[in-house]
């Protein structure tokens, strides 16, 4: 089986600082893969490199058999690898539904003339976007808030909206950067169900950065541990939990 995403020897250097050094990642079809590690370990830097926001100093990022390294972020997103952000980045002054419409820009009708004269073609396309947006709003339980301004939603709702906004682009790999940060236990449970649903029902893969161990251990197929920019361990949740190196990195030596 070929992997959806294969990251090899990823290295990122900021001047004298080696933020990420030789990290490897593999994400298969319909898998949930987590990246964990202490604060400042370089997890988000890995994300930024993979999603094209940084150009890695060395290494390769293969997505669906194509090299992604050096491509700009929007191209990578168009290929089907879409991410969320640690601090939610919604279009706060736009309504919830408009956030989802903007996200579907690449599926939208771009012919200006069709738009000016509002041809039936144009209207049909716009309606499709609307329908897909409504579908995902229902999935994340925000249908009642469709016409609210996104900035006025509660924090947990904003997190879910961000995931819905990624999903309307119809990605193959969803990258979540600490999706449970700032959520209460109930909301985390909902998030857990949502992520599992995305994998099982929608058939996409998920790459997850998370500190909430309960969430990570419960849903991950594979876990990678990064410490100070270096890969420390990888394996199934059970293997990771038993790994003395990992325990040492998290809890310190006795």
């Amino acid at each position: 089986m070929t992997n959806l995403l294969t990251v090899k020897d990823l290295t990122m250097r900021f001047g004298g600082l080696l933020a990420v050094n030789g990290v490897n990642l593999e994400v298969g079809e319909k898998q949930i893969v987590s990246v964990i590690g202490p604060n400042g370990a370089g997890k988000t830097t890995v994300f930024n490199c993979v999603s094209g926001f940084y150009i890695p100093t060395a290494g390769s990022v293969m997505f669906q058999g194509k090299e992604m390294r050096g491509k700009p972020g929007f191209k990578i997103a168009q290929e089907g690898m879409v991410r969320t952000f640690q601090n939610v980045r919604l279009f706060k002054e736009m309504t919830v539904i408009e956030n989802l419409l903007v996200a579907q820009h690449m599926h939208a009708e771009h012919n200006l003339l069709k738009g000016f004269f509002m041809t039936s073609d144009f209207k049909k396309k716009e309606q499709e976007l609307m329908d897909r947006a409504a579908y995902w709003l229902e999935k994340v339980g925000l249908l009642d808030f469709a016409n609210r301004e996104a900035g006025n939603l509660a924090y947990g709702q904003q997190r879910r909206l961000e995931i819905a906004r990624c999903m309307v682009t119809e990605p193959k790999l969803l990258m979540l950067d600490e999706p449970a940060a700032g959520l209460n236990p109930n909301e985390t449970k909902d998030l857990d169900e949502l992520i599992v649903h995305l994998k099982d029902e929608q058939g996409i893969s998920i790459l997850l950065i998370e500190h909430d161990m309960g969430l990570v251990m419960g849903i991950s197929d594979q876990i990678y541990v990064v410490n100070q920019g270096e890969p420390l361990a990888s394996g199934t949740p059970a293997e990771i939990q038993a790994n003395p190196e990992v325990i040492k990195a998290y809890l310190g030596e006795e």
């Binding site: 972020g73 929007f74 997103a77 168009q78 820009h105 738009g115 609307m130």
Partner: protein, 419 residues
């Protein structure tokens, strides 16, 4: 109490000194000897009254600011009046407004129609720049460059290829758009202040090029005798300009009047403005309009969702420039004479002021602001040299009381309708 008096006195003193330098001394030349003398007494009295006012204002500052704070209100005042809220009411209102504007030239004086035409040109420029600055959030200080490209396109196409206005109009718009695209391509990587500086430079380059490329553009002498637009080939001159051409009044068998031309130009400008408004109204409701808005809010999020920021910004730049091109070629046709002098930086500044004053992104606001910016200085002509002072005062007051502009943008929100 003591400090209150002394600070007020200080302010009045500064006013007196500065005011005296500007107004109190007059400079005249007797023969070849320049002399300085104290101005007429009424100016001095005015100056003293002004200083007195400053003193009182400063002295009672606390009380005054209480009153102005009340005038600011609680933000409620920024909404449209109640009869303009729903889409249907707006449509009815727009219908009447257009009707009134159509009738206007037949009921008013020639001078008024002329000013109205000029206003409409500025409305169009304001609307075009509004796309770039208000909607896409790109600060463009060289907008006048595209205006110049449009104007010179028509003038030169007419001069060298004898092209009529109606043929040149789309070409002028296209050329301005092309320039917008070419400029946008390298500079749209820049942000904020940097973009503003580069566009400022671009506007100046265009003007200096026009000024110095004497063989092609006539340099500072400009291009004269640019023909006015025709109505389906009918000219508005007293006599046909060439053999076989027909004039408007001959065709309809009426006597000649120079007013027909003025009215025709006005109606044409009105038509162009209405078209511009319609096109931009549609654009805002199209995917590209949504993308502009999103890009203005968060371009990193946009990139993460597969939107190509450069293309979207280029779209705004190009579309905005094309409106300047249309306005420019119309300006050349109306004026009959253009020179690089018409396209200085101050024009860019005025157009930008229209956009900011109107409320970034708001079409109605821009229209109102364009009217204010062109009509008020005309009306204030009797104050001659003080009118710029009044103008400045108006701008300062605007910034204090309505920093978000006359009518801040109320973006049309798309709604999810449920059955």
């Amino acid at each position: 109490m003591q400090s209150r008096f002394s600070s007020a006195a200080l302010a009045a003193g500064v006013t007196l000194i500065l005011g005296f330098m500007v107004l109190g001394i007059s400079f005249s030349v007797e023969g070849v000897v320049p002399t300085l003398e104290v101005s007429e007494s009424h100016k001095i009295i005015g100056l003293l009254i002004g200083a007195g006012l400053v003193f009182l204002l400063q002295y009672f500052r606390a009380e005054v600011s209480k009153v102005t704070a009340k005038m600011k209100g609680d933000g409620q005042a920024h909404e449209l009046p109640s009869f303009m809220r729903t889409e249907k009411q707006q449509r009815v209102l727009a219908f009447w407004a257009v009707g009134a504007l159509l009738l206007f030239p037949f009921l008013s004086s020639r001078g008024a129609v002329d000013i109205a035409t000029l206003t409409l040109i500025y409305v169009m420029l304001g609307l075009g720049l509004n796309v770039v600055v208000g909607l896409a959030g790109l600060l463009d200080l060289g907008y006048v460059g595209f205006y110049a490209v449009g104007a010179y396109s028509y003038a030169l196409l007419n001069l060298y290829f004898d092209m009529s206005f109606w043929m040149a109009l789309p070409i002028a718009g296209g050329l301005a758009a092309l320039f917008g695209y070419l400029l946008g391509f390298p500079v749209l990587r820049l942000r904020g202040d940097y973009l503003a500086i580069v566009t400022l430079g671009f506007g100046e380059i265009i003007r200096i090029l026009l000024n110095n490329w004497t063989e092609l553009t006539g340099g500072p002498n400009g291009i004269a005798r640019i023909p006015k637009p025709t109505l389906f080939g009918l000219e508005f001159n007293r006599r046909p300009s060439e053999e076989g051409a027909t004039t408007f009044h001959d065709f309809f068998g009426i006597s000649y009047s120079s007013e027909y031309k003025v009215i025709f130009l006005y109606l044409m400008a009105l038509l162009l403005v209405l078209l511009t408004i319609y096109v931009i109204r549609r654009l805002v409701r199209m995917p590209i309009g949504r993308a502009w808005e999103a890009l203005r809010e968060d371009d990193i999020a946009c990139r993460s969702l597969g939107l190509n920021p450069t293309n979207i910004k280029l779209g705004a730049f190009t579309i905005g420039a094309s409106f300047a091109g249309f306005a420019g070629s119309f300006f050349a046709a109306r004026q009959g004479f253009i020179s690089p002098e018409s396209f200085t930086f101050i024009e860019s500044a005025i157009i930008l002021a229209i956009v900011v004053l109107g409320g970034m992104g708001s079409q109605l606001g821009v229209v109102l602001a364009a009217c204010a910016m062109t009509i008020l200085p005309e009306m204030a002509r009797e104050f001659d040299e003080y009118r710029m002072l009044l103008f400045g005062l108006m701008m300062v007051l605007m910034m204090i009381w309505r920093p978000q502009g006359l009518l801040p943008m109320k973006r049309p929100h798309l709604e999810l309708k449920r059955d």
